[in-house]
Symmetry: C2
Subunit: 364 residues, 2 copies
């Protein structure tokens, strides 16, 4: 049997630093658990642009299609702000999502007990929070045509198109219902069916998938603006939220921030099963490339490490290994270890990115 | 000189109840201050549909075009959930916005001292908060064509179009900069220029309006997802936020909820100046029609009353009268008067909608 394969795309900013810690975890699995991965590495985002003049080289794209899972760090930075839209770092990430057809973006918004105080929300509102946002990732206004800036009369007009087919909605709805069955068995679907026809179709299809395939799961619908409100008011009312690409972008970021655990939150982007039964998959932290702290040993590697835990669970069916890794992270936090982003006012000395990685390996 | 004219469209759910209290305030201005309005009333939303089979009768639309300001309560309710998209209560409101060309929607997100405890956010995060969200209201994905649900192959596809012209962006940017000059002199513009071409144009035009007309105002740009995060983390970093119709819908609702003062928040929707120099204008509370508590005397009339205060300020140039009314509201809150939505756990007896209105008249 061949080893499962991983492509590491560390990317820009703090990406390489946090990914270095993930490599320690991967190494530990080989040394101590006999779980070996074939790891290759490549460039994405600004660093790929610097090397090749494109944020994702075709060869890298081809490799991503072949491996069992991609681990991505982060892309972007002020250095690339003035690049043309078509070669911006983000385009590399969007191309991966689109060409790998990673339609289901799983974004857990979880509040770590040890960190509840970091939330801007009151402790009782967030303590113990554990919701899963399933964001459609390969369609909607991110990819719809026509798009562009056009001349019209004597001015320009900026155009983007929101576009959802029934089958695109069906498949991401299924992902949400499947997840719900393994969690709290509740799905809330969010759109603006009161304003957008694409939202009407969304609501109708999610309801149909529910009624015909998942009648046992509790389903509700909410307008996305009300959803944003309710996330801020009492997020614990939710279990799984399913929503489109653009609403998912805003709502999952708001939810992530609410937990107070932003530097801690992983994500998984999953597509259809490959020949070997594993889904196409890319794992990345929710946080960005944080260019302001890059290279200073201040970054928190936990989100990236927990993204690897999601890979163990969703790509390699190693739920026990994932649990172990997640427990190790909790352990280290409970022991009071904190990277600089997690410091309150109590005078604790921060650990470096690398020390945090070492501590987690230790706890394993 | 003729009296300024007002069209009251109380609408559905709690709309009529909260509007009844506004009428008391209008009456007080006539009796005690010699400020008389010519008030007419009509139907909008579900109640208009019940009477005429349309959520906004053409005659009502014509009246709205003629008056100096429209006061709207709220629209919608479960009774109308199964109506066709084209006659849903919301369509009445959207038609008013579009045909009156009310392009600048002003949504203050303000935390009332007496109510800071109601926020799900920590008190220091929200106490004293006072930001103004300027949401573009007549274009973008709410109104862009093509739109609809179409057959494609053997399935259906839901389509909406985001569309912004340079002049549409310019005029709402000007509204934001003008407001900023009278407040904290800071504007933050939000879009997704990293993903959407309409966002690229948005950013470019806002920057140009700034550089050529308002170089004295501090301008920053933020991606809308980061904006959602920052609103949840530390909203006091903002003064004026300007953003498009859809982002504004979500962001302003999130911001409103964060203040803990949802039942308290007014809004103004302003268009171009009419022949008499007054802008086309519609004022409405941010909260909805709350069908679950309609008719029980539980609704909080303050958001609707403060919407009238905004009318005094923005339509009738009566800033002093607006200040007086706002102070009366604060006074009543400071005196401990609370409608049912504002009750904590300290056993205060709630006042009814009508008692709250009376108390505010009293305080005036
Ligand atoms: C970097 C950017 C293109 C991306 C998005 O908008 O999807 C990011 O915000 C995210 O949520 O993963
Ligand atoms: C009622 C609805 C059409 C409306 C909107 O989406 O604009 C509401 O949510 C608002 O924000 O005023």
């Amino acid at each position: 049997m061949t080893n499962p394969s991983l492509l590491i795309l560390a990317g820009d900013g703090i990406g390489p630093e946090v990914m270095a810690e993930v490599k320690k975890i991967i190494g530990w699995h080989g040394d101590k658990r006999g779980i070996n991965f074939d790891v290759s590495e490549d460039l994405v985002g600004g660093s790929a642009y610097d090397a090749h003049g494109t944020p994702l080289h075709d060869d890298t794209m081809a490799k991503a299609q072949e491996v069992d899972a991609v681990l991505l760090g982060a892309v972007g930075g002020p250095k690339y702000d003035d690049l043309d839209f078509s070669v911006k770092p983000e385009r590399g990430l969007l191309r991966l999502r689109k060409e790998m057809d990673l339609y289901a973006n799983l974004r857990p918004a979880q509040c770590f007990d040890a960190l509840a105080d970091f939330s801007s929300l009151k402790k009782d509102v967030v303590a113990g929070l554990d919701i899963m946002i399933v964001r459609e990732l390969t369609s909607g206004i991110y990819f719809g045509e026509p798009r562009g800036i056009f001349e019209e009369g004597n001015e320009r007009v900026g155009i983007n198109t929101q576009r959802y087919t029934e089958s695109e909605i069906e498949r991401v709805a299924r992902s949400a219902f499947e997840l719900a069955r393994r969690r709290g068995n509740k799905v809330c679907s969010m759109e603006k069916a009161n304003v957008m026809e694409s939202g009407i179709l969304w609501r109708e299809v999610v309801q149909r998938v529910h009624d015909t395939e998942y009648p046992d799961v509790e389903l509700s619908h909410m307008y996305a603006d009300a959803g944003a409100m309710q996330l801020c008011r009492w997020p614990k009312q939710f279990d799984v939220i399913v929503t489109d690409n653009l609403f998912g972008d805003l709502l999952s970021d708001a939810a992530a921030m609410l937990t107070g655990s932003l530097g801690m939150l992983p994500s998984a982007s999953l597509g259809a099963p490959m020949a070997n039964g594993r889904p196409k998959a890319l794992y990345e932290p929710v946080h960005g490339s944080a260019p302001d702290i890059a290279g200073q040993g201040k970054a928190n590697p936990i989100a990236c490490i927990l993204s690897f835990a999601m890979a163990l669970r969703y790509s390699f069916d190693m739920g026990d290994e994932a649990d172990r890794l997640e427990k190790a992270v909790e352990q280290v936090l409970a022991d009071g270890k904190r990277t600089a982003d997690l410091l309150g006012e109590d005078g604790v000395q921060p650990v470096t990115t690398s020390e945090m990685g070492d501590a987690i390996v230790e706890a394993l």
